[in-house]
């Protein structure tokens, strides 16, 4: 890395907004990872410990057990969380990071 670039990069690392943004991104990642893992754990615990609940039919007319919509919902929810994560990272945090980089001249 050329010396000028290295200096600018060092300026970026000590920029107060950059440090704050890194902390916010870290918290956001952990939050989203918790949502993904939490949804799956709820599904897994119901599946393992309360199987009879999941075997209950959705209604008297519809004999499909609750397990089927819950499993499909879990997959769709993971997809939704991925979408929210990608959109937030691409539109909110990337924009803020670019603004800080412009601020230090990178």
């Amino acid at each position: 890395m050329p010396t000028d670039q290295r200096n600018l990069h060092l300026q970026l690392l000590v920029h107060p907004d950059y440090t704050a943004l890194r902390l916010r991104i870290r918290a956001y990642r952990r939050r989203m990872a918790s949502v993904v893992a939490g949804c799956y754990l709820v599904f897994l615990i119901c599946f393992s410990l309360f199987p009879e609940v999941l075997l209950t039919p959705v209604s008297t007319i519809n004999p499909t057990p609750w397990l089927i919509p819950i499993a499909v919902f879990t997959i769709l929810l993971q997809f939704l969380v991925t979408g929210i994560y990608v959109k937030t990272m691409n539109t909110v945090y990337d924009e803020e990071m670019q603004a800080i980089r412009r601020d230090v001249g990178l």
Binding site: Y40, L44, E52, P63, I68, Q78, T82, V86, M89
Partner: protein, 509 residues
């Protein structure tokens, strides 16, 4: 019930050759990491997303999960949900983080964080059972397909594949590119959709009746696999496993993929982060839809094939989807379907052989020896590691006749979850982890997982025919991960040396 084997085999041969030629034409022969990371730069988010799906979608999982739903009922669904749930975690916990520190493999991260060759070697050893069992699952699936098509015995078909795999191990390059992976994704998704649609519309099913397996079983009465299905509703939900065993399996399924960061490699092969994330979003949609299709297909097999061929259960139900294809689409659909599956399986096999052996020859040897490395020696080590991986996988496949391949993939994931995941996440997110804690914890997890498998039901009951196993669970992840984490924590907090205080700050966010 079964298709005319010669007819299906003929359509298979006619379809298989162009498919292989198509993949070879679309692929580039990749020799270096630099070449690999350069191949995807020109692709859009959607196209790169399709390529990522091609990396992740596995014909072995597909055959195995649909078969498990047939033999173990709803328990098979845990595999579909679990295999998918690991995917967003990889994106959130690993992808951006690895990209920001510029490290792409487990060995890279461990070497960068600890600069300790013993830990990198541990990562390589942790990767070995994952690759070997995953490879064995591909062998089992391909062997059954060959047996179905050409009528050779299990052993003969396996030895034919073994010869092919050993040639690949000694001479092969990674035939691998974004375009080839895109084609692979489109092929496997299309044939799955086709067979599902044919099965659904040809019988005029209604959704509620389709998913009520117990009701369907009562209508069909006893006989064939239906007798097994009607044992009890509880069996049908749990597959006969205890609650803790299911928890253990479920944890292996979600964490296993996180221990295989190389499956995100295409995330790094596009030039900017936004496009990379968008491609993962598209990939997630394709993969999610694929797993939902597998669930539907599993229940369609139960509804359409009340009298499964007698050998289906002994085959681990791995061919249930193929039997369905032959019933609803005849020889033509069965032949094309098996040709696509075989193409995908072969592609995964070559990738596994080469990436697995490069974990030793490149990641460990090159990273630890640095400038003193010798290219010819590295090549010899690569061939040696490939041959050992393939030979071990063949022995496992030989002993695993009748095993369901999704179960085998789950077992491979339990090793990844027990060793690679704690090491990787610990190195990336835990400032207090020391080299001593990582090393001892990782070895403890690897030994615990290995011991649990060798004293567990697969080896003791299925391989050697004893009535009861010493370790009760088929998937040991919960047990071995707990040991890894406890050992990592204890040997880190009691570590009085300064070793491992290298790069925690850079890894702290």
């Amino acid at each position: 019930m079964m298709a005319d084997l010669n007819g299906a085999a003929m359509y298979f041969l006619v379809s298989f050759l162009p498919l292989i030629l198509l993949l070879l034409w679309s692929a580039r022969r990749i020799r270096t990491a630099a070449e690999f990371y350069a191949v995807g730069h020109e692709y859009s988010g959607f196209r790169n997303g399709l390529a990522i799906s091609g990396d992740y979608l596995s014909a072995a999982s597909f055959l195995g999960i649909s078969g498990l739903i047939v033999t173990s009922g709803y328990a098979g669904m845990l595999y579909a949900v679990g295999f998918f749930a690991g995917w967003p975690l990889i994106l959130i916990l690993l992808a951006d983080k690895l990209r920001s520190i510029g490290r792409y493999t487990l060995a890279d991260v461990l070497n960068d964080r600890f600069s300790n060759p013993s830990i990198v070697l541990l990562g390589t050893f942790g990767y070995f059972p994952v690759v070997v069992i995953y490879l064995a699952a591909q062998f089992v699936a391909m062997t059954y397909l060959l047996e179905y098509l050409f009528g050779y015995g299990y052993d003969s078909s396996l030895f034919a594949l073994a010869a092919l795999a050993l040639v690949t191990a000694v001479t092969g390059h990674m035939i691998f590119s974004s375009r080839a992976q895109m084609i692979k994704a489109v092929l496997i998704f299309s044939v799955t959709l086709l067979v599902t649609a044919l099965a659904y519309f040809s019988a005029g099913h209604e959704w509620p009746a389709l998913f009520n397996v117990l009701q369907v079983t009562e209508v069909q009465g006893a006989g064939g696999h239906a007798a097994e299905m009607s044992l009890a509703g509880h069996f049908y939900l749990t597959g006969g496993e205890s609650a803790l065993a299911l928890l253990s399996l479920g944890i292996a399924l979600i964490l296993g993929p996180v221990g295989l960061p190389h499956i995100m490699s295409r995330f790094f092969s596009v030039s900017d982060e936004r496009r990379a994330r968008m491609s993962v979003f598209y990939a997630t949609g394709v993969i999610g839809l694929f797993y939902i299709l597998i669930i539907v297909l599993g229940f369609l097999i139960i509804a359409r094939l009340p009298d499964m061929p007698p050998q289906a259960s002994a085959e681990g139900a791995n061919l249930a989807a193929v039997y369905l294809a032959s019933v609803v689409g005849g020889d033509l659909v069965a032949g094309v379907f098996t040709a696509v599956l075989m193409t995908v399986l072969l592609s995964v096999m070559t990738s596994l052989i080469l990436t697995g052996s490069s974990a030793l020859s490149h990641d460990w040897y090159a990273l630890t020896l640095g400038k003193t490395r010798n290219y010819r020696q590295e090549q010899r080590l690569h061939r040696f590691a490939s041959t050992i991986s393939v030979s071990t996988a063949i022995v496992i496949a030989l002993l695993s006749e009748g095993q369901n391949v999704a179960y085998m993939v789950g077992l491979a994931f339990s090793f990844a979850a027990s060793v690679n995941v704690p090491l990787l996440l610990g190195a990336l997110y835990w400032e207090g982890l020391t080299a001593r804690g990582a090393l001892i914890g990782g070895w403890c997890g690897l030994i615990a997982a290995t011991a649990a498998v060798f004293t567990g039901p697969m080896v003791v009951i299925d391989w050697f025919g004893f009535e009861q196993a010493i370790f009760p669970w088929r998937n040991p992840a919960l047990f071995s991960i707990s040991i890894t984490i406890l050992a990592m924590w204890y040997f880190s907090v009691t570590d009085q040396t300064s070793e491992g205080d290298g790069r925690e700050d850079e890894y702290s966010d």
